[in-house]
Symmetry: C2
Subunit: 258 residues, 2 copies
């Protein structure tokens, strides 16, 4: 009985996976707006009504895809943060999808900067490799669709990784930024309370700005706004990510800066 149940469960999750895979294919072909249960079913050799046993509505399928995408990019970011890019023998992390993790042979000073850049580069690499899933989660909101609460956890993962790096840097080296102008102080204090009470408010606020700026670069590349202006996206991006790291107070070795 549990066997039967197990087998059924297995079949169910297999089909669910197949549906999501086909849906992702269609996402790539036509965008989120014209993802349709019917054509997914058609392509899978099913009839449309059968899909409703797996996803009660089109929006639920969309939600599943969104959560998967946030989880994928979040996992890539976490893997990059866990690997140590300052170790030349470490092949993992920034350039891989989901690299293996390695021990940490400690770099002297700019280790957190290197991790920051590695995380940013990993997010970019994922985005470039999965432009349509990236568009799904960081592009224009899908009209008529409002994300349920289930998405906020996965959506926060990349941000958490960046916050963690800042936290580590603050603990080991101390992060400091020049004082904020008056009108921003309240805002920064609130942001710090929300995301990282142990960080100085100015750092927390800079983190949020840096986060948005990193994704701005990625979006411009993925969405084609650079329009041939930038040729080697990775090199350009890594350099800019390093400069952005400085904006939150992370200091690299002076030699490597800029």
């Amino acid at each position: 009985m549990t066997t039967v149940h197990g087998a059924r469960q297995r079949a169910r999750t297999e089909i669910t996976t197949a549906i999501k895979e086909e849906a992702r294919r269609q996402l790539a072909a036509g965008g989120a707006a014209k993802l349709s249960l019917r054509s997914v079913a058609r392509e899978l050799g099913m009839v449309s009504s059968a899909l409703y046993r797996y996803f009660p509505s089109r929006d639920d399928l969309l939600t599943a895809l969104i959560i998967d995408a946030f989880d994928a990019v979040g996992a890539a970011a976490e893997a990059a943060a866990a690997s140590d890019p300052s170790d030349p023998s470490d092949p993992a992390g920034p350039l891989r999808e989901g690299g293996p993790r390695r021990p940490e042979p400690t770099a002297p000073h700019g280790r957190q900067v290197a991790r920051w850049v590695a995380v940013a580069a990993a997010v970019r690499a994922w985005a470039v490799a999965h432009p349509h899933e990236y568009a799904l989660i960081y592009g224009s909101p899908v009209p008529g669709y409002t994300a349920p609460m289930d998405t906020v956890g996965p959506a926060a993962r990349v941000g958490m990784v960046l916050i963690g790096i800042a936290r580590d840097a603050h603990r080991t080296e101390g992060l400091a930024l020049p004082p904020l102008p008056e009108p921003l102080k309240g805002e920064a204090r609130r942001i710090a309370e929300d995301i990282a009470p142990e960080l100085p408010p100015a750092v927390a606020a800079a983190l949020v700005a840096a986060w948005a700026q990193l994704f701005g670069l990625i979006s411009f590349e993925v969405f084609g706004q650079f329009n041939r202006l930038v040729e080697d996206g990775e090199v350009f991006f890594r350099h800019t990510a390093r400069r952005i790291a400085a904006e939150v107070g992370l200091r690299g070795e002076p030699a490597a800066r800029s």
Copy 2:
């Protein structure tokens, strides 16, 4: 006869305008993907086939909307650049769209920084006021639609304004940035040739990055990624725009530089 012709022309442009207005309304309601000639016609009390006298296809209507949007945000940027935000008596430009006017402190030195911030704030204000048109031009690409060449001119206007500010600053004060790391030098040289041969390559490359970073902030706000983290978007944005200005070598008065 010319009168008749003139009247006809007038009627034609009036109807064309009405169509675009209704289309923009629908853009707001359902996004670019479900903008349809049929429903525009319905709402206008016309029959769908009549619209084909004005726009030969749905994509042509979309192109018109895109060009209008690029022109609108470009015009806002140009107006902000032309006004002088360091003159407290100048009511024009940056803050006009909404929001309190807080004249930038007069500064003979940081004038280009003030212009930079004013332009950025004007773009943000336009985006916040017209989120759907913003999404049309800076969000995920519309699936199945490829922009014709007619859009590239209008699309470049905001960038041109930013380049112009950097150029002015370079002419009057000289812009300099630390030397670039080797792998970026070629890229930067090419970028400079493309957009502003008279600027140092490092500045040109930083300009492109800054451009993307500004729009990253705007997109996060407009697309709701900040999700209540940032409360006063304008204050937060102006401050960050000022920091980004420093990244391209624009120097404000040290006092105001957070």
